[in-house]
Amino acid sequence: MLTIKNISASVDGKEILKGINLTIKTGEVHVIMGPNGSGKSTLSKVVAGHPDYEITDGEVIYDINFKKKNLLDMEPDIRAKEGIFMGFQYPVEIPGVSNEEFLRAAFNEICKYQGVEEMDPLDFQDFLKEKMDFLGMGEKFVNRELNVGFSGGEKKRNEILQMAVLSPKVSFLDETDSGLDVDALRVVGEGINRLKRRDNAIILITHYHRLLDYVKPDFVHVMYDGKIIKTGEESLAYEIEQNGYDSIIKESQNSN
């Protein structure tokens, strides 16, 4: 569904990604782990289309409805309309824009793009309420300004709520589990698990294994210095949490 081919990217002339290859098929859950500064967040921003990153090499092919599309040619909002989602590590606060107004605008923009009829405000409220219930979000959420004054846990839940509303095909969730207490982690973890379907794919960027108690991964990748240096199964995540990255990094350096 999404093929990342030999992507290199830099910001302000500094190379961050140095030839990433990753193939994601429908129904799969991938986990990307790696020490700080290895380029994990950059990878998700490059896929989402952040304007600060310059792509120096490679391509990202998105396979949707039997058509292959070059993702890098599209504006960020078009990528989103085509079904790409990015859950932010640090969701941005937008004063003066209400959460509900924003969610409805986003939802309707996507409907319009996909040629589906827009939802009227009342129907949308019901639709939203159902999604919020399963994320344990109170009604007061909708009238608040987007992410403004939200606690860390509320912001992350709000990211998952957006994912639930927009129903994307490929979701990169960048450290959605960080900064959460155990209860919030369970809500977010179960939320993600419920959004996992046969026809979509989820990529979790995380430092911890604990999220994987709720969402079972098919692959675990280790990123280091802008490259994927090892790919394995769920057990690899346990191994890293026990022993750290050192031995994996050494192993990859020896094999070069």
Binding site: D77, V92, G96, F107, L166
Partner: protein, 397 residues
């Protein structure tokens, strides 16, 4: 008639502080015609339906009071200025006591050319709305029109009402120099709204307010939608406990020029003033905010706050902002500040990753910026009225 033939001392562009960034020398050689009396044009009913939102409505057409088009209400005394001179000479006299502000050019221009004016007295404490419509028709007259209507408004003791000034014109070229003198007596309250959305022409407007003890003046000003537009607001907090609260939005696009001049004079102890001006600038437009707060030596324990924020939606737009404080008293609380900035890139990206296009995201964030000032308008009817004008002018292509 050429202006330069009647007015010799035009303000000096770049040399005069208040006209430093507004060059009006292009008016000097222009031919103007003055409409001298009510020329029997009735405003059509569609316009009335859309624009008449006041309990009382006073209509000026091309600078001339049109009694026939106006609508009266028991809570207000409304008289043509020449009749008021005879009936309430001492009141009219006292309106001349409003001190001169820094820039008297427009005020003088209005005095020289004013053919028509209205006297309004608010007796009510039940918050009625009186509306003043300054209307310019799209009628074929070869020479541009000069209109200089004058308004004298008295808020009597303990009165409480709202005044909405709408400047709207369909003429291709004109100069309007409207002046409103407002006197607020003891314990009176006035909510003042000034909406200027003439599509063409040159607008040089003045509002002066003299506030007596414990009076409250709340203002919301909107300027937009014309090639050259300037408004001067001077507030004199003349007696104790007088309070003023001014919010404003100015929005410029294309090559338009919008100039905001504000002066607040704290002349007595325990007076309070707040200014909150927000600017939205697109394309190659220019805007000016020149805001002065002056606290005289006797005005101890006064409070003043001033903030000007500008959102630059184009890198070709220019803002000149100058918040100023002059304090001669030693026991006061005053703050002021100005900012100008572009839309936060990360905010745009965040919205875009949710499928919202850059244009819509820009609109969303800018509207939120404007809302902060619009939300200061307490009356939903007027808030909606101004919001519709701003949206249709600034956002529809």
């Amino acid at each position: 008639m050429k202006l330069i033939d009647r007015i010799s001392d035009f303000p000096k562009y770049r040399k005069n502080e208040s006209w430093k960034y507004s060059d009006i020398s292009f008016l000097k050689e222009k031919e103007f015609q003055i409409v001298q009396e009510d020329h029997h044009h009735f405003i059509n009913s569609d316009f009335k339906k859309k624009e008449f939102i006041g309990d009382a409505v006073v209509v000026f057409i091309d600078g001339v009071l049109s009694i026939k088009d106006s609508k009266f209400h028991e809570n207000f005394t409304i008289l043509p200025l020449n009749q008021a001179f005879l009936r309430y000479p001492e009141r009219i006299e006292s309106s001349f006591q409003i001190p001169e502000s820094d820039s008297t050019f427009v005020d003088n221009l209005n005095r020289v050319f004013s053919e028509s004016g209205v006297y309004i007295e608010s007796k009510t404490s039940n918050r009625s709305l009186i509306q003043l419509i300054f209307y310019g028709e799209n009628k074929k007259i070869d020479t541009p029109i000069l209109s200089s209507p004058r308004v004298i408004f008295f808020g009597l003791e303990n009165s409480n009402c709202s005044l909405l000034e709408t400047h709207i014109s369909y003429r291709e070229d004109f100069l309007s120099t409207p002046v409103s003198d407002i006197i607020l007596e003891k314990n009176s309250t006035l909510n003042y709204y000034r909406v200027k959305h003439e599509k063409n022409g040159t607008h040089l407007g003045v509002t002066k307010i003299l506030q007596k003890e414990n009076s409250i003046f709340n203002a919301f000003l909107f300027q937009g939608d014309s090639p050259f537009s300037r408004h001067e607001l001077s507030v004199f907090l003349n007696e104790r406990y007088a309070k003023t609260n001014i919010s404003a939005i100015y929005a410029s696009k294309g090559n338009n020029h919008v100039d905001n001049q504000v002066s607040v004079y704290h002349q007595s102890p325990n007076t309070e003033s707040e200014q909150f001006f927000k600017g939205l600038l697109k394309d190659s437009s220019t805007a000016i905010f020149n805001g002065k707060v002056s606290v005289l030596r006797d005005a101890q324990q006064s409070f003043s706050k001033q903030l000007n924020q500008n959102l630059m939606l184009s890198n070709r737009a220019t803002i000149y902002t100058k918040p100023q404080l002059e304090i001669d008293a030693d026991d006061v609380k005053c703050s002021h500040g100005a900012t100008s900035g572009q839309i936060n890139k990360e905010e745009l990206f965040y919205l875009q990753t949710r499928g919202v296009s850059k244009d819509v995201a820009t609109k969303m964030v800018s509207k939120a910026f404007a809302d902060e000032a619009l939300n200061k308008i307490e009356q939903p009817l007027i808030k909606n009225y101004i919001e519709v004008i701003l949206n249709s002018y600034f956002w529809e292509v």
